[in-house]
């Protein structure tokens, strides 16, 4: 059994059918090869054969994965990954969330908790160190995510940390979230997977801690890192939040508007953080163990406390993407997504798609118009309850396109079924590559290729194979950060990313990991996710963008991304990864 420092060296397998848990050893070789979080989750799911099961079946595993850094004094380290086969994409999905659940989860004495099976009735899964049991969740059904969390803690006691689903998860909406303390394992529908096991909430507690290999040096490094985390590299997140992206993206015609029909929004100024904050109470929060404090919250109504988190992704998805320029509507919709347990990007993207279908006469829902905030709110409710148009919008834009009109898939804003985040691919063509090849679909977190678009390295409106090397580099860095786990907002504070992360591992776990080994680990983690997808049925034609984004100029801008050029970029990316030009690889990549 591995895990002398930083790890417990075991994972907990919980059969939801019986409510019983079994601790299973994890060998040090696996931990060193996959680290934790996203990487360890991919490894466990591969070992459990998850690639070939139906995502919502009892056999499908759902993994909550911690990391060696959880519980350490390193800033932003209180994070956990939720890894499963996605019911939205049928491919691997790893999403991250933060705060006390990570700390309490690891204190159960396990590096991961994996759920299989299905409870006989709606249940709370309670994990008290290595003891698991089920309690009835009958009285919680229909409750929002925050309300569920509150009630479960009232019932069990405040030293439990709780992750829960809302009504959207209960109704198996394919992009339902798992939420904890206002943060979400958002993308890809892990909330539906938890619901398919008849689990409404999972509550964890424990007192088992890990030791660190070099505690005094670790404390010194942690203090230095915390100091750097308060410097200029994180000023944008601390002072403004990610919402500050909106005006810049609008100016540079990168802001997806009206289902990606345009890239600038005439009402963008009304949605600036300065304007939104003018007439509302606002406050800031941070996750447990975080010194950055990137969360900016606003009040929904005059006189009410500031409780609605606003990030760039929910601002764009529930604002310009749906043609909505009223900040009140955007805030209300954001709050409802959090309460219902809906991924904002997929919710906004699917609604925007439906709005376009309605405007084209393909969908009999004339009330669902671009710019109508009330219609957007109504759509969210219908989706969460799977009523009316919500019944098929709950499936995501790709499946909805199949039900509405076969040709509408050309403008369903998704890759592999995952709706595209707030970066217009035609004017950020390195990011377009990142979206096309991403293992969980269109994703700006697993690929940071927008950094390349924001540099002199490529012409962001006419990029080519030269973007591939940097796209790989940003993916590799993300793979390590998501497995360590550290918040990506910290990355600018690291002067030498690879050397400093290797040093963190040395001080926490005691491994003398060279930069070269860490780079190989990054590549192995990305390859593991790709191998999962291949086993799940991936074919090369999935690595692409919808027709809307290819060969036609971006309206109002003229930038063109040709299908051929995207194909060249993808081939260059695959070869740079050491895969075949088509993107195939085998188990050798996991060594």
């Amino acid at each position: 059994m591995g895990g002398k420092f930083g790890y417990h060296g075991q994972w907990l397998r919980v059969d939801c059918s019986s409510g019983r848990g079994e601790s299973i050893p994890l060998d040090e070789d696996a931990l060193r090869r996959f680290l934790g979080g996203s990487g360890l989750g991919a490894y466990l799911l591969l070992e459990l054969g998850a690639a070939t099961v139906e995502p919502l079946s009892p056999e499908a595993p759902l993994a909550f994965v911690f990391s060696p850094l959880v519980g350490s004094p390193l800033t932003t380290s209180a994070k956990f990954a939720v890894v499963c086969k996605s019911p939205l994409t049928d491919r691997i999905n790893d999403s991250l969330a933060s705060s006390q659940f990570a700390l309490a989860g690891k204190r159960t004495g396990h590096d991961a908790i994996v759920l299989v099976g299905r409870a006989a009735e709606p249940s709370i899964l309670v994990i008290d160190e290595d003891q698991a049991r089920l309690e009835s969740a009958r009285d919680l059904m229909g409750k929002s995510c925050p309300e569920t969390q509150r009630l479960v803690r009232e019932q069990l006691g405040p030293n439990y940390a709780v992750a829960a689903i809302g009504p959207a998860g209960e109704n198996l909406v394919r992009y339902a979230t798992i939420s904890h303390d206002g943060r979400h394992a958002g993308r890809g529908g892990s909330g539906a997977v938890l619901a398919s096991k008849n689990i409404k909430a999972i509550a964890v507690r424990g007192r088992k801690t890990c030791r660190w290999a070099f505690p005094e040096e670790l404390n010194r490094l942690s203090k230095n890192l915390s100091k750097k985390s308060l410097g200029p590299a994180t000023a944008k997140y601390r002072e403004l939040g990610t919402v500050s992206n909106l005006l810049l993206f609008n100016r540079m015609r990168m802001l997806p508007t009206r289902n990606f029909q345009q890239a600038e929004f005439e009402q963008a100024e009304a949605l600036s953080p300065q304007r939104i904050g003018e007439q509302r109470a606002k406050t800031q929060k941070s996750c447990a163990a975080c010194t950055i404090g990137c969360e900016h919250l606003f009040s929904l109504k005059d006189g009410e406390p500031a409780e609605t988190r606003l990030e760039y992704e929910n601002l764009f998805a529930l604002g310009p993407l749906c043609g909505v320029g009223d900040p009140q509507m955007v805030l209300a919709a954001s709050q409802r997504c959090d309460e219902l347990g809906l991924d904002v990007v997929s919710a906004g993207g699917t609604i925007a798609f439906a709005m376009e279908c309605a405007s084209r006469g393909l969908l009999d829902a004339p009330w669902l118009r671009f710019g109508d905030g009330q219609a957007m709110l109504k759509a969210l409710e219908l989706i969460a309850r799977r009523e009316g148009v919500g019944e098929f919008l709950a499936e995501g834009s790709r499946i909805a396109a199949g039900k509405i009109d076969g040709d509408s898939i050309a403008f369903a804003p998704q890759v592999k079924g995952l709706e595209i985040p707030g970066y217009e691919p035609r004017s950020m063509q390195a990011m377009a590559l990142g979206f096309a090849v991403g293992t969980r679909g269109a994703d700006h977190n697993r690929s940071g290729a927008y950094e390349v678009d924001f540099s002199e390295e490529v012409d962001r409106r006419d990029a080519g194979p030269e973007a591939a090397a940097s796209a790989v580099e940003t993916e590799d860095r993300a793979a390590v950060m998501d497995s360590m786990i550290l918040c990506k907002f910290l990355r600018g504070a690291l002067d030498d990313y690879w050397a400093e992360t290797a040093e963190m591992l040395r001080l926490v776990v005691g491994w003398d990991m060279t930069v070269e080994e860490l780079r190989r680990t990054a590549r192995r983690i990305v390859s593991a996710k790709k191998l999962f997808n291949i086993r799940a049925g991936w074919t090369p034609d999935e690595d692409t963008l919808p027709d809307r984004f290819l060969d036609s100029p971006l309206p109002g801008d003229g930038a063109v991304l040709t299908r051929d050029r995207l194909g060249e970029m993808i081939r260059a990316y695959n070869l740079h990864r050491g895969w075949s030009a088509e993107g195939r690889l085998d188990e050798e990549a996991l060594r």
Partner: protein, 87 residues
Amino acid sequence: MIVTVEFFGIPRERTKLSKVIVEGARLDEVFRELEEQFPDLAQACLQDGRLREGFAANLNGERFVSDPATEMQLGDSLLIMTADAGG
């Protein structure tokens, strides 16, 4: 050369302005002019005619520039922003 400088992100926060008109024939001249006019901006984002690490400059919404000798043309807009576009 008359250049419109547009501020986004932290640069906007430091100047409390969305845009300003300055004179400069080259990029470094524009930056030095800004350093002089906006001490808070200088402290956060500029030093000796260059942008500090973590900030970027884009010409006319088209290309990113960093060479101090980059020539300004009449009617140019120089966008100054936080380089990190993470969301």
